[in-house]
Symmetry: C2
Subunit: 335 residues, 2 copies
Amino acid sequence: MPTKKEITQGSLEKIKPHLAQVESSIVDQAKAFDPAVEGYIRYLLDTGGKRIRPSLAILAGGAVAGEPTEDHRQLGLILELIHIATLVHDDIMDGALMRRQIPTASAKWGQSLAVLLGDALFAHALQLTSEYPDRAISKLITQASKDVCTGEIIQTQRRFDLNLTKAEYLRIIELKTGALFAAATEVAARLSSDNLETAANLRAYGLKLGTAYQIYDDSLDLLGDENDVGKTLGTDLEKGKLTLPVIYLMEAATESQKTKLNKLIINREPLDTSILAGIADYEGAIERSLREARTLLQEAADGLLGLPDNDYREGLIEISRYVQTLVDACQLSSY
Amino acid sequence: MPTKKEITQGSLEKIKPHLAQVESSIVDQAKAFDPAVEGYIRYLLDTGGKRIRPSLAILAGGAVAGEPTEDHRQLGLILELIHIATLVHDDIMDGALMRRQIPTASAKWGQSLAVLLGDALFAHALQLTSEYPDRAISKLITQASKDVCTGEIIQTQRRFDLNLTKAEYLRIIELKTGALFAAATEVAARLSSDNLETAANLRAYGLKLGTAYQIYDDSLDLLGDENDVGKTLGTDLEKGKLTLPVIYLMEAATESQKTKLNKLIINREPLDTSILAGIADYEGAIERSLREARTLLQEAADGLLGLPDNDYREGLIEISRYVQTLVDACQLSSY
């Protein structure tokens, strides 16, 4: 199974200089904090990541404007800062010790500092957002941040609830992951064009891509190999987060199978994820989930066909193809 | 000792209808959240509080514009939402079970939901902030939120550090508490007038009032009676937060006394706050702290004398006098 590494193929090469600029402005943000805080923030900002949201903002900007501009890079910066802030808080809630092969803020400095550092980073990102002269732009970004929180709140609320439906699951991940992806592509379009249809198409692309990516990521948590991924896996189910394969499994289960799943998931002491993954695979629930992701990725790419054909539109299509290859490679690590 | 109750005296009566409007718009904000989240947010918003920040925004607005307007009430709303979001996160970090005589969010729903609810409320407040057409206004508000986080981060960082100086302590509480008070009065002025000197004077008032209030609040934590205050006391020192009386005590201590303080505070098992309070009182460190608060309150009020004399300016002066009465009443609960 491929590791989650940076996307570097084909026409995506073209955005590398833009991404390098975003990367350097991400790390530069530490200077905007008090000297007593700067070092912590630098640690959080300098830990890498795939920078998917900046890539999407730059590509969507280039797709609409012909070439990406400083506006699109700034959007990518802001969304990545919001994303990092949410990761800092996620790691507290998940009790995660490692992310991207290095210790999380909460593992390194404790929960209190991690709460505050996430807050400070979030406040800073929203301060940058307040600099847009067009209030509609800042409203879209702040709404996306609110959506991320809402998705996570509903997810937390529905932990260990085996009645969670597929529709409810999809809504949670649309809010939690789709919202920032959609903001990247929609706002990039809005920054360069008044064409609301183009913006809506790009929003739909981002939302579908984000949703498909989260389905893949959730499946990986059930199936994957920690050494490849660089973070603690199998934690979703232990924390009661029900993912699409499990929902499909529940849907198709007989009453006696439901009782068994209930025992495995709710009364786990401890839960052996590999058994559940084996059953989900055997019953075809994993394949169904991955098919759902593939459909979304296809729809995302198809929705871009109305845009003028240029390298950046092609880059967006390549990203959906890249996630497709991740999905295709997703299988039980024991195979 | 008087309880921390609502300020209702004198010319402050005049802002009651404005405060009632803010109160109802605070509770109304719950409707701006997803139905799955609304109930939690309503719980957080409906728990009362002194609404000092809205009072300051309304009074400063009236002092500058002659009468408070919707703009000033909206500012009060936004700052109160930011304040409530920080309290939700504070309670997680402090492990506080009760606030204003009712269970905290983290006690009621656990730490994860409390982190997310604070984030969602914060995102919502900053979304309202992004609606200001004047970017300078939104920047002042987002900067104040960042300052609150910065103050709390430095405070957390310097826990159990007996070398904390008075200057460092003052900077922490200026950021942590002063910033939102100062934003209330400064931004209210900026919303109604281009006179930057007036805005600066009102900012200075807010900053001094906030700082004095925090000194009072910190002293109360050392001295107070939980039944009167409605929240868990004595937690500052247990959590290693050094307050002004302790800093003064350290400053004046001989080497052997420093060793004793060190033992009491750092190696406490458990710390008997009343002993430390007794020593601080005996040595005059509490009186010195309260004197510092009084000086700041006097300076805050004096700084307003350049403003036109009206009921709202008078209201601001009354607030500083009210805090003065709280400071005057602050003494060991055993007396």
